[in-house]
Amino acid sequence: MSASAAEADLSEDEREGLEFIRETGGIHQSDFWKELDISSRKGSRIAESLAGQGLIQREETVYDGHNTYHLAPAARDLEFGLLMAGDMLSPFIGEEEVNHNSDAFSQWLMNLAYEEH
């Protein structure tokens, strides 16, 4: 199922939760349900459901001394255009090492400066 199709089928609570996670850019599950003023059980159910549909990323973590999850917007929401300078893609793609003084990166930076000028 595509992301937009999955989103159209969300319940009111799930939609609100997704909006909230996108607004914060990422939040711990233990703060998520408190901020939304819902029960922890309900918060957990919403987070699980959103993660299951690929709309958010949910990763185990330790926060404030207890085990919880970190909830973040799915990578598909990111602005991948930030990898571009003019019509040139980041020169590090397909490269093992990131060399910040490479000629290819200099070229990319000149494109970037030119584009914004």
Partner: protein, 176 residues
Amino acid sequence: MAFEELLNDPVIQKYLHELVGPTGMPVAAAPPDGEVTDEELAEELGLELNDVRRALFILYENDLAEYRRVRDEDSGWLTYLWTFHYENIPENLREEMDRLLEALEERLEYEQTHEFYLSEPAGIRFEFSEAMEQGFQCPETGAPLEPMENDDMVNAMERRIAELRDELNVDVGRDD
């Protein structure tokens, strides 16, 4: 065809092109639903089997395809059944954004702490110590090396760094 939504993104098209190159692009641009063999793809796309295999293995190395091997009971031949995993593209690109941000931050430091000289006719930039070694004369054209401002580049870098940090939700106070 699967993953149409992702493949409509011009950055993603460019990304796949960067990985597999022009000869592999027909393979990368049209992932079928479900499993497919390399022979089927070659036949369907009218490509050399080797070019198809090369593209598939590049996708495999980037977590964008996987295969399982099945032995034909009659002939004893192995068949590779491939599945495309383009759902991993966004995560790969997120990592690329992280790598780009890191490089921008390191390069910004370098740009801000060095002075540069330009050979106008050759279009080559020299860092101060290099320029001095050359006696402030272009080694290719003999033209004098002139001081060069990098403010435009630095400004553009600072803007892109801010945008990337915002997009990737990097804490402003991080010190790693």
